[in-house]
């Protein structure tokens, strides 16, 4: 899944290591999320959003549309 984690991380000037430490995960996990290789669990996504004071959909981009919206 596409995400804006790197943009938000760069925005606050943290390294991958610093963000990993704050979230209690490995640097490899942050790197895998930022390169769209790994989708974090809902609890981790919520923690990321809390850390950057934003909503989960601001961080993670889902292109799925409901049937109603796609028919419009």
């Amino acid at each position: 899944m596409e995400n804006r984690l790197k943009t938000y991380r760069d925005g606050v000037g943290w390294s991958q290591g610093e963000l990993a430490r704050r979230l209690g995960v490995s640097r490899q996990t942050i790197n895998a999320v930022e390169t769209n290789k790994y989708d974090p669990s809902l609890p981790l996504a919520l923690r990321m959003a809390k850390l950057f004071a934003c909503q989960v959909p601001d961080l993670f981009i889902d292109h799925w549309e409901t049937e109603e919206n796609s028919n419009d």
Binding site: Q16, G17, G24, V25, S26, R27, Q28, T29, N31, A32, T35, K37, Y38, P40, S41, L44
Partner: protein
């Protein structure tokens, strides 16, 4: 492309070349050393395959172990961002280094074990039992330090290995049952499990982007 991203790309490429060259060198030297200690012509195909898989495990374990002992050099040959990451991951890397080297040595010993050979059958089997015990203890000690991606990776590798090894065994066993193929030998079963697990870990790690140069 900005100067910074071009510089990053060049650094990653250089690191990838260093990793490939050092990996190739260690593999080459390890294979040469193994060939000079034993005569592959006196071994069956199964023995050579199990010994070869053992050598891969052993060299990987030693490679990671070397990286831990010399972190500055380790940060150049292991797929980590910097020396600090080696320190952060020291516990996990130490565990996997010991487990891989122990399993590798045990597989190599098993391949050489035979009545009247340098490695006795009991020592060959005992080595495998000891290596599995060491791996279980290390895993039990370290799994509370796994983060969610490590858990996911372990599950992916386990699922993949189970499906792949199960499929091969099902087909091979069925073919052997009706006389279309020779039944798998005991060493072929060991090779299938050890090699299948190794392959599954590589595939899962690649899918999670862990094999990309950092």
């Amino acid at each position: 492309m900005t100067n910074v991203s071009a510089e990053n790309k060049a650094l990653k490429t250089r690191k990838l070349i260093v990793q490939m060259v050092s990996g190739g060198l260690v593999g080459g030297i390890g294979s040469y050393a193994a060939m000079s200690l034993i005569d592959p012509k006196t071994m069956s195909v199964d023995q050579v395959i199990v010994g070869g898989i053992g050598l891969i495990y052993l060299l990987m374990g030693l490679f990671v172990g070397f990286g831990l002992l010399a972190p500055k050099l380790g940060s150049k040959i292991l797929n980590v961002e910097d020396v600090e990451e080696i320190h952060e991951q020291r516990r996990m890397l130490t565990g996997s280094s010991i487990a891989m080297a122990t399993i590798g040595a045990a597989l190599a010993a098993l391949a050489l074990a035979a009545p009247g050979a340098t490695v006795s059958p009991l020592a060959g089997f005992g080595g495998i039992v000891a290596a599995l015990a060491v791996s279980v203890v290390i895993t039990a000690r370290d799994w509370k330090y796994y983060d969610e991606m490590m858990w996911q990776l372990s599950r992916d590798a386990g699922n993949l290995a189970f499906c792949a090894i199960g499929t091969v065994l099902m087909l091979w066993g069925s073919a052997a049952a009706v006389g279309l193929a020779a039944a798998p030998t005991p060493l072929a079963l060991v090779a299938l499990v050890a090699g299948g697990m190794l392959l599954a870990i590589f595939v899962s790690a690649t899918r999670a982007g862990l094999m990309m140069p950092r």
